[in-house]
Structure formats: structure tokens, C-alpha cells
Amino acid sequence: MSGYLIRRILWMIPTIFAVLLITFVIMHATPGGPWDVSPDSRTSDPRVQAALDKAYGLDKPLYINPEAAQKASAAGKDPIAVAQAFFDTQFGNYLSNLSKGDLGPSYRFRGRRVQDVIAEAPVNKPFYQSRFGTTIFLGVLAMLMALVIGFPLGLIAGLKQNTVVDNASLLVATIGYGIPSFVLGIFFIFVFAVWLGWINVLEFDYWDRWQAWMLPALTLAIPTGAYVARLTRSSVIEVMRQDYIRTARAKGLPERLVVFRHIIRNSMIPVVTFIGPALAGLVTGSFIIESQFSVNGIGRLFVESINRRDYTMILALTIIYAILVAVANLVVDIVYGFLDPRIKVGGGRT
């Protein structure tokens, strides 16, 4: 098991490098740069933009720099210095910084390092209140809510297949899945803040008032919860048709025990498979929710960074998401073993 874990973790390194390279290539293949602001905004002088390119190393070649290498070689520099000059490029310098734990300068928040923007908490606040911590917390909370909403709904629908309960559950799940988050978000704001006056439209004190999390988390959770409900329903229906369920019933096991001991446990496997990527999706897909509910997280930062061509920020957040997906999948694989002893991870004994 531990060998398997180490292998999986080591495999993450080439995976993340590949993600990094692909992102870098696509990012730079797309026209535009960090200083290309919207035509509706104040535009800075082209000469100043050239200076900014130079200051941030954006004037360097992307992948290789044979010209610099030739110069270094002609100047009689040693082979290491020539190699360094060859890779004195935007990608080379990024990797070099990354190897030192530096995610580079943000082009948008000029003067700040990317890791500071992502992980620095407000003054005198703990780390978990950083943008990173905020988004992770929101994503996990939304995932919990999605499971709480979706699993029981799907379970009941599956157990009561083709009844009014099942149809009602299908209707609720379809509506939940079909309504876009931004519509759901503003709807909740309208109902709970404007009509009922239970909360403020503009909530800010997320870390001081835990209730503030509920609307953004619920908005984020509903489409995922709806999907979980549908997935659970199909899984329950499939499990109920299995021989071992028939056997359990035939040997006189009470229905309660059949459901809890056999049906729930076995129907959870597809749901658990879904949770891994879904959790990463909840974290990455929180852009609109973070914008609507004034949550200062990395979901919003990600989309804004793409629009603003904040290259280093895009790369950093892509790496974070790649790691999140990889870790979530690893955890799911491990959980399989607990849910179904027939599934073995890493070929070892379970």
C-alpha cells in the first residue's frame, strides 16, 4: 500500500509538468498580453508597455534562447553558463523560479509574488483565511452539502422507483442540475436577502459569521447534489437487482438491514468515483459564486487571471488544480478499498 502511494505521488510530478507545459504553450499561443486591457479602460502608452515587458522578462524568447547561448559561447563562457543562457527564456526562468518555490511575479498585482496573492491571509489573520483557504473551505462545504442533498434524494428515489417520490426527486434533481449557478445565486440573494431580509445582499464577514457561508455553498452544491442524486438512484436500482440483495431478503434479513448494510454501501461506489473530480470541479468552478457573494477566493482569481493574461497566476492556479485533482483521485482509489474489499489498490493485500 505504501509503495503504491509513493508511486502514485511520484507520478504526479511528470503529470504536473505536462499540465504546466500544455498550459504554457496554449497560454502564449493565444494573442494578447498582460498589458492588453479592455478597450473600454484607460490605455497606457505603448512605450511604457514595452518597458513593462522588459522589466518582467516578457521580452525574452518563450522556450529556447540560442542567440544568448551563442553570445555566451563566443564570450568564452563555460558550458554551464552557455546552457543557462540557452534556457534564459520565459519558460526556463519560470521553471527555475518554481524549483525554488517561487511562483513568479504577478503581472496584474504588480509588485506582488503569485504565492503571496494566493496564500497570504489578510493582515493578522490565519492562513486559512487566504484566498486559497477560502476557496478550499467553500468547495469542501459545498461538497458536503451536495452529498447531504443528493445522496438521500437519490437513495429514496431508487428505493421507491417509479413512484411519486421517485418522480418528484427526478424533477427536483433536474431543476437543480439545469439552473445555472449565476441564476440560482441571484435567486437566493433575492429570496433570503431582499424578500425575507434574513441576510444582507452583500455579505463579507465570512470568517466571523459562519452563516454567511451557507448561501454560496448551497448555490455551489445544488447542481452537484442534483447529479449525485441521479447517480445514486441509478446505482441503487442496479444494486437492488443484484443476487446478493435477493439472497439477503430470502434469508429473512429485515429490510432496514438490507438497505443499510448492502444497498447503501454498494451503491456508494460510483458516487465516490464522482466525488474526486467533482470536488476539484467545485473548487475550480466557483468563479461566478465567488463573484456574486463577494467571496475572495482563487476561483474568481483564476478567471480574472485568464482575462488579464496574468501568465504566472494562470500557471500557478493550474498547478494547484492539477494537484487537487490528482490527490482527490488518489483518495478515491484508497476509499474504494474500504467500500468494496474486492477492490485492491496497488495489487497488495487488503
Binding site: 512605450r47 511604457v48 447531504v148 431582499v194 444582507n200 452583500l202 452563516q211 451557507m214 457573494f293
Partner: protein, 628 residues
């Protein structure tokens, strides 16, 4: 045991959702028991009876003050807080690095430049109580007022401004976006060029060269009270640059301690403006309190809060819910809803903005390298229809470049050809684009002669609507097909930066840096400036502008700029289309902002007015108004 655990998790999570729907224990903006008013109702203080049956409608649900009468209880002695709903949180809050309006609005509350601008675009005293120009116009001396202090009480001298102006061109300071604004100052461009050469990395600096460049730089504190600025040539407009954000006196003590990120912390912004930054909550809020050491005296408001949310639908609801006093994030599509609501309409403030919009042609590419085609498309542009159907009444049709409200603007004079479909077709037909079957009675354009027409733009729902209108408009007039080419917004901007990639024609515009015709004409249209992107260059215009820029008498200079604008209009380098409009919702209890509208108000109502005089009528505020 596992089943029990599952039950506990499910039950806990369900309980969380249920509790989430309960009222918060101590909301700040919702009154505990005060008055019978609902927060939504109390938010609307002006009288306009709402129909109860139509309550669910967003614009009609909140009842005006008539019903709850927030004025009935004794006037609260609470704080006077101006809460302004904004969009995007600023990226950089460093006076010498910032450039966006959303950044400048924060800085200008906290700092004051050498001079100040009023809402009418007039330059007045700021940190300097007076200034003199040398008779040849190559020097300006600013006299700093006596007893000038920063918000922490430390005395300020001319050295503080010298430091800021030097920092703006310092080759060792990276990330500056507006250095070119200083290029009229002697030695500024040379310093900036050297910084460019170094990549702003002074680890490889040639110290002697740098010292020589600094010695030649035209900004010098003569003593504690006087700052001298020397220009490359006679300069008639620099007082307008002396008020801008690049001159704001950044606190050297903070920069020395943390050169790159000092500006992220509120306590480092020890400025000299009417307010001081109390807190900066990234992505959420910027809070200001009065600067007790401000030379004009302490501001009347106890607090200004800039509250950020990029979703203008949320800001709109927050304003209606009484959580904001000014909505400064209104989308064009919200305007019809506001107009349809009597209460909101009464609070709606709109006036021209110093923003000019045009259809920008690629003057170097067929068919728009032909002035007649440019003129024809200008005459074919239905500006009224644009304002009515696309802008939803925002702004006004305009055929000139300098927008109303800016010195030198001549809104009553004709500009580039105005909308005249018959004349548009005739211009093409008479100038070599007539179809074989074109007749005097029925003129017809030969589309093949015009070639393929393509409009490239940054894709978004609002942009699609805009360009569908524009393409439809021209197709209707000329009968020639136009391809719509939506691309990513940043890509679209990048394409317009280089004449080689500049689209045939696209929509663009200019937001002023300072209300002076020099900023509208010399900065934009001289050969090699922004005009280079559109393939436009007219040496005659350059000559006229140079003369205007070096004219010291303001009135005379304005006349010369007006003559320059005529040259520009004669060339029809773009189809000038409309000026934009500032749109804000201002609550009735807010005193001041509505009285000081300015075309420079890019961010919120009254931004460029006397903010230190703004006030809140506490007798009119709703029950949900902040108590502390």
C-alpha cells in the same frame, strides 16, 4: 458504528442548511427591532407608493419611506457613512504604478497632488497654494502651502513631491504604467529609457550614467516650500498633470521598508488627502475615515466605504435593500428597469462622461485607406439608433472627438459626416464604388470594389449585440455583406495595438487622463502615438498640436486645439460616434455628490467634487443604516 456515523454526518449537514436559513444573530445592516420597517422597504426613502400585489417585482417590492416613516423616531446620532457600491477591486494602489480609474478613486481620497481639480474641470490649489510659470514657459514653480501635514501629523515639504515625481521616472522602480505622462519634463524620458534598457533591474546599473541622468532631471525641490519643474520645451498644460495621481506624495518611509508591496497595507498609506485609508480588505472593501490634518479641515462624513462586487445585479439589489448609498456599478441593461421605476428614477443621476467612442478604421488597409470610404461609413452610421437601441439611452450621438464638458469641446459644431444614408451611398457611388447598374435615381454600391468587410471584436453578450447592430446598420445602408469576427476580448485588444493586425474597423474610444484638449489630441492623434495603431499620421496636425501644446495662454491654446480638431475631423480617421454617460443611483439622504457632477467622474457620482463637504442627512436614513 459506520451507519451511525453516516447518520450523524447527514443529520449535521441537514441541520447546517436549516440553520443557514435562519436570520443572522447580529446583522449590521438589518435593524433588530427598530420601526416596523422591513429592511427592503426602509431602503427606499422617497415617496412613490408601491403596489402591494406587485411586491415580488424587483423594482417595486421595496416600499418608499412613506409607509415605514424612518423619520418618525428621533434622528439617530449614529455615524455618517457613505457606502458606495463598486465593481472590481483595484489591482495596484501605488500612486506611481497605478493607472486604472478604480485605483485612482482610492488614491485620490487618501492623497492630494500638487494641484487639485474641481468638478467643472478647473485647476485649483492643492498641496501647492500657488504656482508660477516662467515667461518662456519652460519652468513651473509650485509653492507648497505652509503647515502642510500628512495624516499622521508629520510635516510635508517640497521634498515629498520631488520624491514622488522622481519615483515616477526612476529606472530602478519596475511596474510603472504611466511614466510617459512625465515625458514633457526635462530628462524624464531619458531616465525612463535607461530603466527600459535595464529592465528596471538596477543590479547592473552604471552608477555614473544614472547620476548624470538624475542631475539632468527637471524636478528639483528648491527649498522646503518650493518645487521647480523644468520642461523640454515651453509647456502650457502641465498644471493639469500636476493634479494627477502620479504626483501624489507616496510615503518614502513605507516604500523604503517594503518597496514592492507597501501599498497592500492600509497603514502605509500615510497621505495628505481629505480622508485616510482605515482598512483595505482585498476583493471586498476599502474603508476611509477623515484625515484630521487635511488643510481644508476635517471632512463631514465619518466614513466612506467602497464596497466591491463584480456582479452588478448584486450591487443593484444591495442598493435597493438599503445596504448602499450610491450604486456606482450600473449596467446599461439595468437602465430601462430603473427608468420604469418611479422611486429609482428619482434617484437616478446621469450626465455626460469624458469618454469618446468611435468606429476606428484601419486607415492603412483597404477599403478604409480611402478617405471617401471612411466618410461614407461615417455618414452611414446611425448614431441615434445606437444610443436608442444598443446603449439604452446612455450617452449621446456625437460626431466630434473631444466630448462635451472638456475644455475645447465644440458640441454644437458639425464633425465627421453625420448620419445620412443617401449621402453615405452617394459618397461611395461618386468616388469609384458605383455598381454597373447604379443610376442617379437609384445609386448602388459595387460591393466587390469595397472588398471583404470584417468587424473584429472582443466576444461577450453585450458586444455581440453591439456589433450585430453596427453590421446590420451598414448592410442595410450599403447592401454589402459584413463578416462578424468575435474573438477573445484580450485578443481583440492585442490586435488593435499593431497596425499589422488592426482589424478593418472596430469600436474603440478614449477615456481622458486629465480634462485638457492636449490629452485628447496630442496624446492620442500625433504621428507615432495611439494613432499609429490605426495607420493615421498627418504632419499638419502634428504641427498645429505642437503650437497648441507650447502656447502658455489657456484660452489661446484652446483655440489652437480646436483648430487641430478640425484638421483631425477633416481626415475622418474614425467615425466618431458618441460620448458615454455616467450613470449612478444616489440615495436621497446623501448630500453633495449630486450637486457636483463632473464628466471626469469615471467611478462614482461626485468623485471629483469637494468630497470633504459631502454629508448624510441622518433624519432621512432608513432603519437599516449603519449604527456604528
Amino acid at each position: 458504528m459506520k451507519k451511525f456515523a453516516l447518520f450523524v454526518i447527514l443529520a449535521t449537514a441537514l441541520a447546517l442548511i436549516v440553520i443557514a436559513c435562519a436570520p443572522p444573530p447580529a446583522p449590521t445592516a438589518v435593524p433588530p427591532t427598530a420601526a416596523p420597517a422591513q429592511p427592503t422597504a426602509a431602503a427606499q426613502p422617497t415617496a412613490a407608493p408601491a403596489k402591494p400585489t406587485e411586491a415580488p417585482k424587483p423594482t417595486e417590492a421595496p416600499k418608499p419611506t412613506e409607509a415605514p416613516k424612518p423619520t418618525e423616531p428621533p434622528a439617530p446620532a449614529g455615524p455618517k457613512v457613505l457606502r458606495i457600491g463598486r465593481g472590481t477591486y483595484p489591482d495596484v494602489l501605488d500612486p506611481q504604478k497605478s493607472s486604472y480609474g478604480i485605483e485612482i478613486e482610492v488614491l485620490k481620497l487618501n492623497y492630494e497632488g500638487l494641484l487639485a481639480l474641481d468638478n467643472k474641470g478647473n485647476i485649483g490649489p492643492g498641496a501647492a497654494d500657488k504656482f508660477e510659470k516662467s515667461t518662456d514657459g519652460t519652468k513651473m514653480t509650485f509653492h507648497l502651502r505652509d503647515g502642510l501635514k500628512r495624516s499622521d501629523g508629520t510635516a510635508m515639504t517640497a521634498k515629498d513631491y520631488e520624491y514622488s515625481l522622481k519615483r515616477e521616472v526612476d529606472p530602478c522602480v519596475p511596474g510603472k504604467q504611466y511614466t510617459s505622462i512625465m515625458y514633457d519634463v526635462k530628462g524624464a524620458q531619458e531616465l525612463d529609457d535607461y530603466g527600459n534598457e535595464l529592465g528596471n533591474d538596477c543590479s547592473k546599473v552604471d552608477q555614473k550614467k544614472l547620476d548624470d541622468l538624475w542631475a539632468a532631471f527637471g524636478v528639483k525641490a528648491l527649498d522646503d516650500s518650493n518645487l521647480e519643474v523644468t520642461f523640454k520645451q515651453p509647456t502650457g498644460f502641465w498644471e493639469y498633470i500636476a493634479y494627477t495621481w502620479v504626483t501624489y506624495p507616496t510615503d518614502k518611509r513605507a516604500v523604503d521598508k517594503d518597496p514592492d508591496t507597501w501599498w497592500t497595507k492600509a497603514e502605509n498609506h500615510v497621505g495628505n488627502g481629505p480622508f485616510k485609508i482605515q482598512s483595505l480588505e482585498e476583493g471586498k472593501k476599502a474603508v476611509f475615515v477623515p484625515n484630521e490634518n487635511y488643510w481644508r479641515g476635517k471632512a463631514k462624513l465619518d466614513r466612506i466605504e467602497l464596497i466591491y462586487n463584480t456582479d452588478n445585479a448584486v450591487i443593484y439589489e444591495a442598493y435597493k435593500n438599503g445596504e448602499l448609498d450610491i450604486n456606482a456599478n450600473i449596467a446599461a441593461e439595468q437602465v430601462p428597469a430603473i427608468d420604469a421605476d418611479a422611486v429609482l428614477k428619482a434617484q437616478f443621476v446621469r450626465y455626460p462622461a469624458a469618454i469618446s467612442i468611435a468606429i476606428l478604421y484601419n486607415n492603412a488597409k483597404k477599403p478604409f485607406d480611402d478617405k471617401n470610404v471612411r466618410a461614407a461609413f461615417s455618414a452611414g452610421l446611425d448614431r441615434e439608433g445606437w444610443i436608442r437601441d444598443v446603449s439604452k439611452g446612455n450617452g449621446g450621438p456625437y460626431t466630434r472627438w473631444i466630448p462635451p464638458g472638456v475644455p475645447g469641446a465644440q458640441p454644437d459644431k458639425p464633425g465627421v459626416p453625420a448620419y445620412d444614408p443617401a449621402q453615405a451611398v452617394k459618397t461611395l457611388v461618386d468616388n469609384g464604388y458605383a455598381a454597373a447598374d447604379s443610376t442617379a435615381e437609384k445609386p448602388k454600391v459595387d460591393c466587390a470594389k469595397l472588398g471583404d468587410l470584417k468587424m473584429t471584436y472582443g466576444a461577450s453578450p453585450i458586444q455581440h449585440a453591439r456589433y450585430q447592430f453596427l453590421a446590420g446598420n451598414f448592410v442595410r445602408i450599403f447592401g454589402c455583406p459584413i463578416t462578424l469576427d468575435p474573438v477573445d476580448a484580450t485578443v481583440a485588444t492585442a490586435l488593435t495595438k499593431d497596425i499589422k493586425t488592426m482589424p478593418q474597423f472596430t469600436r474603440g474610444g478614449w477615456i481622458q487622463d486629465y480634462p485638457h484638449p492636449q490629452n485628447w489630441l496630442s496624446v492620442y492623434w500625433v504621428c507615432g502615438a495611439f494613432s499609429k495603431r490605426y495607420g493615421y499620421c498627418n504632419p499638419k496636425l502634428d504641427e498645429q498640436l505642437k503650437e497648441a501644446d507650447t502656447t502658455l495662454n489657456f484660452e489661446e491654446a484652446v483655440k489652437k486645439y480646436q483648430a487641430a480638431e478640425e484638421i483631425l475631423i477633416g481626415d475622418v480617421p474614425a467615425a466618431f460616434m458618441n460620448y458615454a454617460e455616467n450613470n449612478y443611483l444616489v440615495a436621497p439622504w446623501v448630500i453633495g455628490p449630486k450637486d457636483y457632477p463632473s464628466s471626469s467622474d469615471a467611478e462614482w457620482a461626485g468623485e471629483w467634487g469637494p468630497v470633504w463637504t459631502y454629508d448624510i442627512d441622518l433624519t432621512k436614513v432608513p432603519a437599516s443604516y449603519p449604527k456604528q
